[in-house]
Symmetry: D2
Subunit: 352 residues, 4 copies
């Protein structure tokens, strides 16, 4: 239940509060010269407090590796890592002991498990995604040739009109919003700042593009590449939707328009397929879109109930992101790297 | 790779052609008085040749159970079943021995496995979904109190504007298009017939509504209920997108609008959450939408390539659906039933 | 629960009575030119009625493949197979409807599942091992270079004193008892015939030798090669013990005697390790021993109870083996082939 | 590969040297009031340096829990724990950088992974069993009514002649050898001391008895209770054999002697079955025996080779146990607890 992947597998642990979060990565190839700075860098991209677009809460997340690495190289045994929970203001959450916040997991955790760690959302906290970012950065080092780039493609009703072929993906990190269309980035930023001023939050979308994917990754019948990607993304807190290739737009098209005609070399003239046919990568770029709901924690007073069904009033408190998408970019990339590494290793078994 | 589910598990086998397709269901509860007619009925709803909206190809799919049932009751041991492949016109496919059809899996299967069963798409054929329907109908009998209803909510650019609360789901089977808004159903049917006349195909969407779901189903961190549903749906051939609750629309909303405010009994005034919080069912109806691309097989001539990279011309041939969504309704329901049964059994372990 | 293996996986179904038994093999490599006669031959070696040493019950087990093979080659998709249950004398078992036979699984199945298929032991019948033999014969075709030979090494208190290095394994099939020491084979046969005359049964042991194993198979920490072999063997009905290399005898030895000293080429002068160190094959022959209890069905009258706790008297009835080991030899080999294939495929992923 | 269990699952990490060893337990029931002292106590029983029978190496193993516990109760989320590696004398192992010690895993790890952590055996070190003991102590708290007692039943050729029904299991912890027959315990101790004086080591055996097991645990076909127990035990370093109930002795018996005749209440007059029929617990005590080889590290000079195939001479060095069985007793108990907890949770799903 707390593991992700079949061959390359992350087992995750930890909650918003408590000693530490972390994970164990099983299935790492041996003899990989690890670039540990790249792992920390990925983690820094997810960190709160990077810019005024994200929460002012500072978490100086430093990853510590406990096992699986010897003389700078992977041993092929499990890589365990921890990230200390340094910023534990547990008393900030005393008012939530019995409260059920709207559109949070307080109610469902309490009902499912009979009790819950109410501090900062406990296990349902987005803080758990830090372990995903570490594991994804390790996975990426098994498949260095595959290029994975995610970027913010919508904030609220502002949508990026250009598709991935019209963008320079090298521009993604140029702005804190992580949108490679710098004009649009500006508008996204303005939108978030205006929302933040109101003590409100806003949803958004992330597009991910994967290039240089080997042909043949993905396993029919029940591990289609798109199904594992969707599964991965839908496990990210706040995600409400996933589409790849032509996506929901494709459901409005005719077959004569939608079919991707082959070039003699096996590439296709269009790419409505999104780089996947029959659940298997076809060598064209894979691209997909992920939709995020607005953050449920507001800086406004809200009505709610407590565990006894009594009405309560929740004051806006704590420090939270007005929009989750800028910090979710490295999470989307990390999960994509894990999915592709898993399939890459499986397909290696079939090599002659 | 060919199994679905963790506790309630289907292992699927078979291809478009060859002796039979079928599956093995492991994890069935013992002592369940099976309604085998309900299973066959579900299968009949998926069958080709039901109406002029679907292919004229007739497959009289009869399921035969080989094991796991004794004196009408499940024994708790695996239930194996087969569906004969009766309609094998293999010679119809001789022209496809070396051809790669556009937006089919011919190319990717050949690249992944080194050779392929070219008859009718082989293992990539949508025929494999018949096994899903059987397993889903068995799963549903473990959770009879949970009501699962899927219906067609879009054909091409025609979208049903009413949401599930405004519809009478008992009307779904009234028309062959399986849309409970009978006026809209008429328009959907006209659309498909007009597309069919052109030898073309069209995409569409299915909405699924699940009522009477117990609170507490779903497993954080990596088996969130929405993630397993998305995974399930994205494994259906032709599916390009999944969203639940507010979905992609939710990514355009503000938090103050999107948050579902509690009633004193723990239900919520709105249901943008789609019945799931933190990956766990909250007792409100679960609803989600699935987008299907247009069928890739056209009754028009198309350009393509063969396995040597030579240009070929593919004549429109065979008998295929102009739009996949009417027949996909029972598949969506079956996978939903399997996902919920799996989580239901897992949660039973935690009962005090 | 009814699947065996991680990459090369058999899902088994069926019981003593009912339409058929069979299985689905997932994880088969594609493009393997299958020798289907070899599969049937393996099945014939397990079949009842081969000689006077086994039950006179005739089961003409013919395997039928339903999927996964195209033009004689594996497609990489699941291989489903069935073996019809042709010899269904269900009425023979009417007297067992409510009886609990001593040292059978009648009582435990009834308690676990609430009811049971009482005909011929239902799912607990050794008939289910036929599916294992088929899957093992498929697995062996992935690893043709690895030689697996099992033989009977004890019947009752008669023990073969020679170890595997002193035997000509080509002699195994020379006698129906499957012991390569032909003098000892004679004594084993006499022993069984004498036991049979008394309407009694007798236990025995099987030794298995695996040669030409690549170095590096087996996965620490929890999938040690010996652990997976033990797991496999202990799942065979009637098996009571497993030991490999020096086995229980090794627990009586000193370290200075037991340590296997290396030759310069990495082979060892002795092989108390049994070809495995730290859970990983070291290239030396793997050998292990499996102990079987005597068959519980006797041709003698026995006291027992029925499901209401009333005393009953069970007459000796039916046709059963006086000693299980001759027919268990191909089952031991099949499971060994499956375990090694699984590890072989896993290790292929690490190839550079 | 580094996880054990299906529902109650330990994922283990760490090696002899490096920062820490530890694990993540997934599948813990929520709302369990944990007795953490019981966990530490179990760990203390495995610790080196308890008596003159074990290595003089002191490891003050203290377990630290990182997650999954809130206000003294389990939350149902993963319990991660670490045990620091405090006694790292890495330089002690410099002489082993290129050496392959006889009957150790140096050679196989190097061949499998391409390089290895040579310090203290790295991941192949028995130190990894500390994580097993922690997880087992957690598992035991889910099934407090089931009593698991293991004890030393042989050292070298000295065998305990009494079976478990003739022993007072409360005496086990009375002596450091952990044998409840105190007279025999004395002889075992003398034997080990004499072996130790010679710089040699000796093998031994452990018997485990499980009482108050609910009827119905164990899953046919491929997760028979005895198969999972065997699998568990054979993963302990140095284990060479497993038998349950009548074991290898049972293979010498006739069926008329071996069959366990029922009492009217469903218990049996004898218990050659060892508490398991058809892979399912029958309510009688489960008992099994595990054989351990002598420790491979000697205080004597041995011939060996280095990685280039050159002959080397290995001096006796380091501090090691002369006999592994006294400290292995809590490991056997821990794995037994984990296996039973897993099956207990699975069977809970079938409850009506």
């Amino acid at each position: 239940m707390n593991s992700f992947g079949k061959i390359f597998k992350l087992t995750s642990f930890g909650a918003s509060h408590g000693k530490a979060i972390g994970g164990v990565v099983d299935g790492m190839l041996p003899q990989v010269n690890l670039d540990l700075e790249a792992v920390q860098l990925a983690l820094d991209r997810r960190r709160p407090g990077q810019s005024k677009l994200t929460t002012s809460r500072k978490e100086n997340d430093q990853v510590t590796f406990l096992s699986g690495i010897f003389e700078g190289k992977t041993t092929g045994t499990p890589i365990a890592f921890i990230i200390q929970n340094t910023n534990e203001k547990s008393q900030d959450y005393d008012h939530l002991k019995t409260a059920y916040r709207p559109s949070h997991a307080d109610f469902t955790y309490e009902q499912k498990y009979g009790h819950r760690d109410y501090r900062g959302g406990g296990r349902s906290s987005a803080r758990t995604t830090a372990s995903i970012v570490v594991a994804g950065a390790l996975a990426q080092q098994i498949i260095p040739e595959i290029k994975i780039n995610a970027y913010v493609s919508a904030v609220g009703d502002l949508q990026l009109s250009k598709n991935y072929t019209e963008l320079d993906l090298n521009q993604i990190e140029k702005t804190p919003i992580r949108c490679p269309d710098l004009a649009m980035a500006e508008k996204f930023i303005e939108k978030i700042e205006s929302i933040k001023k109101n003590g409100d939050t806003i949803g958004g979308q992330i597009t991910c593009v994967v290039e240089h994917v080997p042909i043949g990754l993905g396993e029919p019948l029940f591990d289609k590449l798109q199904a594992r990607l969707a599964y991965a993304m839908m496990n990210i807190p706040a995600v409400k939707g996933f589409e790849y290739g032509s996506g929901f737009g494709g459901s409005q098209m005719t077959g004569s328009r939608h079919n991707d005609i082959f070039n003699p070399d096996g590439t296709t003239k269009t790419n409505f397929s999104g780089g996947i046919q029959g659940g298997i990568s076809n060598g064209m770029p894979i691209y997909f879109k992920v939709g995020f709901k607005p953050v449920a924690t507001l800086m406004q007073t809200q009505e709610s109930i407590d565990k006894n069904g009594h009405k309560i009033s929740l004051a806006g408190k704590g420090r939270h992101d007005p929009c989750v998408v800028p910090r979710a970019v490295p999470i989307v990339e990390a999960l994509t790297a894990m999915v592709l590494t898993d399939f890459y290793l499986l397909q290696k078994m079939r090599a002659r």
